[in-house]
Amino acid sequence: MSTRSLLEQLDRTTELLAQSLAQIVKFSSLSKDSDKIEESGQVAESVATMATDGIVLVNTHTSQLIKGIQDLLVMTRTIREKWLLSQVPDKKSSQDRQIDVEKCSKLLEEWVSVVVTGTSPQ
């Protein structure tokens, strides 16, 4: 995922999270409004429908809020993976490897002289 798409996703998710809480508060007051409607003598069925709609919408926005936080957690994990798995090997480690090769050559020569030819090491 490129950094541009990460930024776009961050913008989208932040906006969604900001709206979700406002929507939850807004729709949770639907049942309160429905009480007023009932007092004014409207049909009880429509009151029940509005209250149910309110609950369903609150549930939807609550799920959205949790999903948004999950998406942001996944995003931090993606960034963490990039830092850990896409590092450019530094020069120090490649120098170490050259030293290792020289050391390897000396050790192998020593090994040949000791084990294969049977002479004592110098």
Partner: protein, 113 residues
């Protein structure tokens, strides 16, 4: 495996963002809790409700700004500390580790001879 200092700083910053994201959820839960109290007619919970709403938006702002900063750090380091975005580095350090292990073994054997 020890990481360079700069990468450790970035990982630490990402951990802090994770904590902030969890705080957002906690604030949202407190907002809904106080909202339930308000709806049951407890007007004394209004200041608490307001403070939790403020805390929710402040945490969201902090997490969003910090995450944006981390994405910028990532973007700035592509090509210097990080490989281009579409390249996956294989486990290149594995060969060196194996070689080192074999050298140590050889050295031990030679000392024993």
């Amino acid at each position: 495996m020890p990481q360079p200092e700069y990468i450790n700083e970035r990982l630490e910053a990402l951990n802090d963002i994770d904590k902030e994201l969890v705080i957002i959820l906690s604030n949202a839960s407190q907002v809904i809790g106080t909202l339930a109290g308000l709806k049951s007619g407890n007007e004394a919970m209004k200041p608490q409700f307001e403070s939790h709403v403020k805390a929710f938006y402040s945490s969201l702002e902090r997490a969003s700004v910090d995450l944006r900063r981390e994405i910028k750090h990532l973007d700035d380091n592509i090509g210097t500390r990080l490989l281009p975005i579409n390249l996956d580095k294989k486990a290149t350090g594995q060969d060196d580790e194996k070689l080192q292990e074999q050298l140590e073994l050889l050295e031990r054997e030679l000392k024993r001879q």
